[in-house]
Amino acid sequence: MRSFSYQRATDPDMAVQALGAAAASNNPLTKATAQPLAGGTTLIDLMKLDVMRPAAIVDINPLAHAWSAIEPGGDALRLGALAKMSDVAAHAEIQRSYPVIADSLKLAASAQLRNMATLGGNVMQRTRCNYFRDVSYENCNKRNPGSGCAAMDGVNRMHAVLGTSDQCIATYPGDFAQALIALDATVEITGKAGTRSMPFAQLHKAPGSTPDIETALQPGELISGFSIRGRWPRSVYLKARDRQSYEFALSSAAIALDVQDGTIRDARVALGGVATVPWRAREAEALLREQKFDEALAQRVADAAFADARGRRHNSFKIALGKRVVARALQQAVTMEI
């Protein structure tokens, strides 16, 4: 950890301004000299590891009064960026109308972390790639652009099989983002020019040739909230992991279905633990629309979801695992009582 300045932002303008001052340097957001602090469970961790070295910290927690809404009103849901993971997971209406959201949060991290961590920070959490998190490894294109990728031929059991590039195979580790992308969420962004919105699906950037650029956010911009249209009571989040709690996904599936009279009208399939970014399996989910569910269909969807997957030495198992997780999650979504 290195010395840094600390400032509390008491209103959004102040936060944006404090962060914007650092924007001039032309660094990508991940290297911006000023970083917003929410729960700190990712940021402080990476600062201690010397992976992130901001010169200035802008504490946005004082904005909680404005940015921690949990509003499941009628046919839409709004969530503030500073809402705590634990509060959202425990919200009765979220559990009823958006079980995929409640479960993706409940199955993430530990109770202590969920009490600290915010939704905005959660979607912005960074990869758990060990070579990224340990600065004694030089070769990490995400941390040190152009230096190579130690994970490519190293220990890569936890790494991604979808959305990878020859520059980076780091997994996007979070759970909640899969629920957001499945439900076609919109993300609200507050910046110098006011507030803008974009589909959540456009927030994260696949690594391509610039793995250091992780999101579409610019330095000086903040996530203020998320919104979702419709209710999704028939939705599940299934997470396979090495231990029963407090562990990232080896493979997960966020599924949301609209089933009427035994026919699937709308279907959403998103994958976690296997991809470099929150991953929507659009072609796979399309196979479900206007169909009646059976095991063979689930298998076809699962196969389609991983059609482009590419494994490396230790993570190839994620392809077969991911397919079984998708098929099982579909089955659960179809049979769940709502």
Binding site: M1, G154, R157, D242, R243, S245, L250, R324
Partner: protein, 763 residues
């Protein structure tokens, strides 16, 4: 009584609460880095980013500019230290690789610089700003890497003298009706005790005080003195509490003398708190092992041939070896036994003790192989063990001092519900989950070492026990206090125990599960010296007093142990007869068969463990049987272990409450070892990858919903005066095999490599 403090059975002490319970739960227990220092400077380590090669250059400019930096110590300016030999070669060190001596790098994460600053934060920031240029060579990481060297352990390691053999294995195996050959692998593991590898050093003139969590304060004191080239009497090691050790604090690590040397030079106390990931490379670890087991049996299940070949990884300079064949060749009746252990030298840090060092990997192999044999024989695995149970070990025919293995199997099987198991693999399930039941034997050698103690008894019953033992979380304070209270017949609340300080009478390393037997035997002996003086004061003749020693208890609270007879001695009267108010005795106790130089070695911080198979006319082990239920998800292949049941017999159970904690922790550790724990090695560069507690997995509460510990009553009068067998390392031994055996039962798939991950399951 609750499960935590069950009703004691025959030959068990009272389940009194922990002596240090309140201090611990209220945070008043002071660990090494809690010790107040007068104006300390803070140290932060820099460790190497390569495993082999040399340092060309340090760029310290940026680091030196950080405000508060006092000094940056590298091999170019480090205090000169003397070498210390490996503990197994008459020294104290866990490794002979001495950092900061030259530009050479011998393993990943070797200490290459120490930053000293006015604050921890400044030291850490400066450490981050140091740039190092290396010339890296390609290291040999492990078994399959080019450039390793392999040789038999025998002849290299003074603690592994002989590959046990008996009969004619080759011939018997050839002729056997049923044969099994199978290979097993165990991974690198790290202890990860909660307390980090902290060290604080403060000099007062020529005298040094070290605050460091240590499992062996006398060893550390003597070792550091040797490295500094000063008299051992000038060094004091203090650690009233140790935040877990599991073997990692048994031998001296290089950091201590380095910090002491820097503190001397700067003339200021220094406090070092290394990070969790540094702990993976600045202390020892459990090295990966490989095994080949050959079993030959008759159709009716009698073993006729057994061969166990093991290979272990060690560092280039040190031949560390656990050599568990000393146990696996003696566990069952078998007339023809062969074994071989070899050591593979790689560019790694020197490995060291980790909870049940030999038994964990070696019994995993043997107990898995027995289960495989039971399948081949179409026999219940418990019955296979019963058929091969023995009262004498097969290598030299010595009798076990006591052996309750089958009693443990029977008790645990009953509690577990083994009878409900349908033997066919894949025959039991519950919804998405395949269910498997598995079991295995567990055992651990009973060991003792010389120990001294000082006891002071006052006329009003207040008692003070001093002994340089170690509270590593096992309950040392508690059982020592219980022993003194029982022996002197004073109420437990009147006993104060002082341990964890090398100024106190020497005790052995808290390792090899010898502590309770050794320290309590010494305390018991010294208490008897006091009793004897009191008895003599009130008995008309010496011979009467001698006789009374065995039969007369002391009031006011004669306990079962002390009051063997019905007469008792009035404490105040005896003191008054002597005309004193305080009696103090010091004594040195050694186990039967301990070599002549034992006491001298004890004072010099060297350990002479006696016991296990190395006793003269007998062999002493504690035994147990472990049963597990494993569930394997049909879809995700996730493996969970909802139920662990263990039954154990370990001689006198000094305190069923603290013993249960040990055994329960052992079962959980064993499950963790089977399913979760592995340090991943990047073979290209011989570096650890998951060196933190987020990625080095240990169980969380949700992983251990059900653990049941059963303690059997067992009396053994042949081992030591207190009649206790060590049990701290007993319970985590059999679990690895029990889990794999259960996975076989659940899935029909035999897994021979730990840990078992979901990708290893194909159903």
């Amino acid at each position: 009584m609750t499960a935590a403090a069950s009703e004691p059975k025959a030959n068990m002490g009272q389940p009194v609460p922990r002596y240090d319970a309140t201090a611990k739960v209220t945070g008043r227990a002071t660990y090494a880095s809690d010790m107040p220092l007068d104006n300390p400077a803070y140290a932060f380590l820099v460790t190497s980013a390569i495993a082999k090669g040399r340092i060309d250059r340090f760029d310290l400019d940026d680091a030196g500019r950080v405000r508060g930096v006092i000094d940056i110590v590298t091999h170019e300016n480090a205090p000169k230290l003397k070498e210390s030999k490996l503990f197994s070669n008459g020294g104290y060190a866990g490794t002979t690789i001495q950092p900061l001596k030259s530009a050479e790098i011998a393993h990943d994460g070797q200490i290459i610089a120490v930053v000293i600053a006015e604050s921890y934060e400044a030291a850490r920031e400066a450490a981050n700003r140091i740039k190092v240029s290396y010339t890296a060579a390609t290291p040999s990481a492990s078994f399959d890497s080019p450039g390793t060297t392999t040789a038999t352990a025998k002849g290299q390691n003074s603690q592994f003298k002989e590959d046990p053999k008996v009969g004619d294995f080759a011939k018997a195996f050839d002729a056997a009706e049923v044969k099994l050959t199978a290979s097993y692998d165990t991974p690198t593991q790290h202890h990860n005790p909660m307390e980090l590898f902290t060290t604080s050093c403060a000099w007062m003139g020529d005298n040094l005080v070290i605050y460091e969590g240590s499992q062996f304060v006398y060893g550390l004191k003597n070792g550091v003195a040797e490295q500094l080239g000063i008299d051992a009497d000038k060094v004091r090691v203090v650690n009233p509490y140790v935040g877990g050790g599991f073997g990692s604090r048994g031998s001296m690590t290089p950091r201590t003398a380095i910090i002491a040397g820097i503190a001397k030079r700067l003339n200021r106390p220094i406090k070092l708190v290394p990070t969790r990931d540094q702990g993976f490379t600045i202390a020892t670890y459990r090295a990966e092992t490989r095994h080949e087991i050959k079993l030959g049996a008759s159709r009716d299940g009698r073993l006729v041939a057994l061969r166990h070949e093991g290979a272990e990884v060690s560092s280039r300079p040190d031949a560390y070896c656990v050599g568990g064949t000393k146990t696996t060749t003696r566990l069952y009746a078998c007339p023809n036994v062969d074994s071989l252990v070899s050591i593979v030298r790689a560019d790694r840090n020197t490995p060291g003790f980790m909870r049940s060092p030999p038994e964990v990997p070696y019994l995993f192999a043997l107990e898995s192989a027995l289960d495989e044999l039971a399948v081949k024989l179409d026999m219940d695995p418990i019955e296979l063990r019963r058929i091969n149970d023995t009262t004498n070990e097969p290598i030299s025919g010595k009798p076990y001092t006591s052996r309750s293995l089958m009693a443990c199997f029977d008790e645990a099987a009953k509690a577990f519900g083994w009878g409900q198991r349908s033997p066919q693999p894949k025959s039991m399930s519950d919804g998405d989950w395949l269910i498997g039941y598995g079991c295995a034997a567990t055992c651990y050698p009973t060991q003792m070492a010389p120990s001294a103690a000082r006891v002071r008894l006052q006329r009003d019953g207040r008692t003070r026990v001093e002994i340089a033992g170690h509270e590593i979380g096992t309950g040392a304070y508690t059982v020592i206090a219980q022993t003194a209270a029982e022996r002197l017949g004073v109420p437990l609340e009147k006993v104060a125990v002082f341990i964890g300080d090398s100024e106190l009478p020497p005790a052995p390393v808290a390792g090899g599960s010898n502590s309770t037997a050794s320290t309590c035997s010494a305390v018991m002996m010294v208490c008897d010296q006091i009793r004897q003086r009191l008895l003599k004061a009130v008995m008309p003749s010496d011979s009467l007093a001698d006789k009374a020693k065995e039969t007369v208890g002391i009031s006011p609270a004669p306990s079962t142990q002390a009051a063997k007879g019905d007469r008792s001695l009035d404490l105040e009267k005896a003191f008054d007869a002597l005309g004193v108010v305080v009696l103090e005795e010091y004594g040195e106790w050694k186990p039967e068969g301990a070599p002549l130089d034992s006491f001298r070695a004890m004072h010099n911080g060297q350990v002479r463990l006696i016991g296990g198979h190395a006793m003269k006319d007998q062999i002493a082990y504690a035994f147990g049987a472990e049963f597990v239920e494993v569930r394997v998800n049909r879809f995700t292949h996730e493996i969970r272990c909802p139920r662990l049941v263990g039954a154990f017999a370990a001689g006198r159970i000094m305190n069923p409450r603290t013993a249960r904690s040990q055994l329960m922790g052992g079962l959980i550790w064993g499950m963790s070892s089977a399913l979760l724990e592995a340090t991943e090695l990047d073979e290209r560069n011989a570096r650890y990858v998951n060196d933190n507690l987020a990625d080095y997995l240990v169980p969380v509460n949700a992983d251990v919903p059900g653990v049941e510990v059963i303690m059997l009553s067992e009396q053994d009068d042949h081992i030591n005066p207190v009649g206790a067998k060590g049990l701290g390392e007993l319970a985590n031994v059999g679990t690895n095999a029990a889990i794999c055996n259960a996975i076989y039962h659940a899935t029909g798939q035999r897994i021979r490599k730990l840990p078992v991950r979901l990708e290893n399951i194909e159903v």
